[in-house]
Every structure is written in C-alpha cells, then in structure tokens.
C-alpha cells in the first residue's frame, strides 16, 4: 500500500494539518497498524519536495509547528494516475509457512506433518467461517466468503507444497 498516495487522496477533500491526516488515515485504514507521526512528516516533506502538495499555512503554538497542507494540481493528477493503474500482483512467497517448511526440511523434521497440521487448522477455521456464514446475513456471507477464499488459496498452496516436498527438500539440502 502506498502511504503517500493515500495521504494525497485524503488531502483532495481539503487542506489539513499533518496531525489531522494521521488521524484520518488511522481511522479508515490503520486498524491494526497505526501510522507514526514521523512517517507522516517524512512522507509529506517528500510530497512537498516533488511539488505534489504545498504549505497552506503554519500555525505556531506551544509544541511543534503545525503546517497545513494542500494538494497541488500535479498532486491531483498523481492520485488519478495511481487509482487508474492496476496493482502488480504480489507473489506470496515469504510467508511464515514457507519459512517453517524450509526450516523443517533443513532440520530433518516431518514437513508433510507440519503441512497436514496446518491444513487441519485452516479447515477448522473454514468450518467456523462456513458455520458463521450459514447463520449470517448477506454482508456476513460476503465477508466470510472472502476469508474462505483466501484460506482456500492458502490450502491449495499447502497441497501443492505437500506434493512438491520431495523436490523442495532436494533444493533446500543441496
């Protein structure tokens, strides 16, 4: 996720202080990972340098100076470009599971067992979600389905990895 583009998009609604921006971001997108103020500051100075935002005004008070930022025309164009450009699909390689499997293979533990246990855990969760889905309304169903599909994707990866364990073991140990 591009924080710069997100903050720019938030500014399009009107000029804001840096602190306002952080709060708005956290409220909408940062459920489990709130932004640090320093992140906001460094991002905004980069945007300022690139001419995508300008300083609308500075409030001086007791504490740090509070700059009000506004989006420039170039900034608006940039947001538009970001929105229209599709995201590059990211290969899901560096998962914890992969690390686990590799470690298991390296240490001579049963990787298939690890995968089976993981599958059982996945399925347990999927059963829970399926159960919740059957009781819930349409939005519940859609949300559960999303999770189910993701879990299913993981499961497929588990299956495939299980089928390729021999190959992987050879590659890791060589």
């Amino acid at each position: 996720m591009s924080i710069g583009h997100t903050l720019l998009g938030l500014l399009e609604g009107g000029p804001r202080h840096g602190y306002d921006l952080k709060r708005a971001f956290d409220e909408r997108f940062g459920h489990d990972r709130p932004l640090h103020y320093g992140q906001v500051y460094s991002t905004m100075s980069r945007l300022l340098k690139n001419g995508l935002v300008e300083v609308d005004g500075i409030e001086h008070g007791g504490g740090p100076e509070r700059k009000r930022y506004a989006i420039t025309d170039a900034g608006i164009t940039d947001v538009e470009g970001w929105l229209t450009e599709p995201e590059k699909p990211e290969p899901y390689l560096q998962s914890v599971l992969y690390t686990k499997v590799v470690i298991a293979l390296l240490t001579g533990r049963d990787a298939a067992d690890l995968l089976d246990v993981q599958r059982a855990e996945h399925l347990r969760l999927m059963r829970e979600l399926t159960q919740r889905k059957r009781g819930g309304d349409l939005s519940d169903q859609l949300i559960c389905d999303h999770a189910l599909f993701h879990l299913e994707a993981d499961l497929r990866w588990l299956e495939l990895t299980a089928a390729r364990l021999g190959q992987l073991a050879k590659a890791v140990r060589s």
């Binding site: 599958r119 059982a120 399925l123 347990r124 059963r127 979600l129 189910l148 879990l151």
Partner: protein, 228 residues
C-alpha cells in the same frame, strides 16, 4: 477417534487396479449423522475408498463393517440390495437417466425397491421441494441447469432415507454459488435425518461443510481428528 458406535468402519483396506495400488492399508470410520470429508490429491485413491466403503468394489483385502455385518462376505445381490435400501449416492456428473424426467429420476430408487408408483412420486416430490427443484419435476435432465440437476441427484440419493450417503465430488461440475447451495441443502438434509455422509472432494471449501476430514495420500487414509 474411537470406532465404538461407528456406523460404517473399514480396516486395512487394500485394493489395486493392475500393478499400482489404489488403496494400501486405508482405515475409515463414520458415525450416524456425521459428515466426513475424504480429501486428497487426484489419483490418491479417494474414489476407490468410497467404492469399497459402499460395497460397489470388493477390496483385495481388509474389512468393511456396516451395521455389524462384513461387506466382503456378502453376495453381489446382497450388497446391491444394501445399496438400494441403506445407501444413497451422488456423483459428479452423468448420473441422471437422460430419458427419464427429473421426477422419475428421483423416484427411481424407490421404484427399484418396489414402492408403488403413486407413493414413490409423492415421496420424491416432497424431497424435490426440499431441495428447491420441485418445479423441474417434469423436465428431462438435459433441460435443467447443472445446479438443478445436481440437486435432483441429491434428492434422489436421499429419497430412500439412506443411513449413509456417499457423495463423490458432488459439486465438481458446478460454480461456487451453485456448489455451495448444493452443499448447504445436502448437509442440512443429512443432519436432520441423521444420515452419515461420506463426502469425497478435493475442494477445501466443500470439505468445510464436513465435521472432520480424512486425508488419503498414496492409498493410505489419515484421520486428521487426531492431528489437531
């Protein structure tokens, strides 16, 4: 998982077609009202396990107990009559008789059991209503959608009030939405009637409708309840 109180139980099943073993010491058990998913990659022996459990195929060695009886000692006609009366079947495709109407297809197992036509029709219609396909009762399988056809097949498998339902990739030929609807209706009906379901599938989301799963790999069946 203790086999005590189990309805259908298999022990140390071996079966090979030609030189390659399809089952190599598989074990299995299921309780009344339980839905068990049989999972595993293609060619792992899932279907062969189902065929052995249902008495369609005689295993080379090993035992299958159903209701205290050993299937391998039963004659072909005894096993046929067991399948007619106690078991139900749903397959992936090609299971409805194309020239019979959907209603006649559902009534077929009852008629094979000697139930009178009128009664068979009434009972099959009520099952079709339950699976939301009563409106296609007079159409031929070629004239209904895949999802409807599969629900007709489910109605047919349940119409005799079986104690075990064998479902081999029942949603394999359907899209997710139709597949889920079929699974919902199937498991719901099975739970209500305390029918045990042996559900062969390679799809995790279908398996998620089960109570537990058994993984078949290289002809060996592993009950994942203990692994949890």
């Amino acid at each position: 998982m203790t086999p005590a109180g189990s309805l259908l139980m298999a022990d140390d099943l071996h079966k090979s077609y030609g030189p390659t073993p399809a089952l190599d010491g598989a074990e299995f058990s299921i309780h009344p009202g339980e839905v068990v998913a049989v999972m595993g990659p293609s060619g792992s022996g899932k279907s062969t396990l189902l065929h052995c459990l249902a008495g369609i195929v005689r295993p080379d060695s090993g035992s299958v107990h159903y209701g205290g009886r050993e299937l391998s000692t039963m004659s072909d006609s005894e096993r046929s009559s067991l399948r007619r009366g106690e078991f139900g079947f749903v397959f992936q495709f090609g299971q409805l008789v194309p020239e019979l109407t959907c209603g006649e297809n559902v009534a077929l197992p009852l008629r094979l059991n000697g139930v009178k036509r009128k009664e068979a029709e009434a009972r099959s219609l009520s099952w079709m209503e339950r699976l939301e396909v009563a409106d296609v009762a007079h159409k031929r399988p070629g004239e209904v959608s895949g999802g409807q056809g599969q629900r007709v097949a489910v109605a047919r498998s349940l119409v005799t009030g079986p104690r075990v339902l064998f479902a081999d990739e029942p949603t394999g030929a359907l899209d997710s939405l139709n597949g889920e609807r079929v699974m919902e209706l199937l498991t719901e009906a099975a739970r209500e009637t305390r029918t045990a379901v042996v559900l062969v599938t390679h799809e995790a989301r279908v398996a998620a409708y089960s109570d537990r799963e058994v993984v078949v790999r290289d002809g060996k069946a592993r009950d994942m309840a203990g692994a949890r």
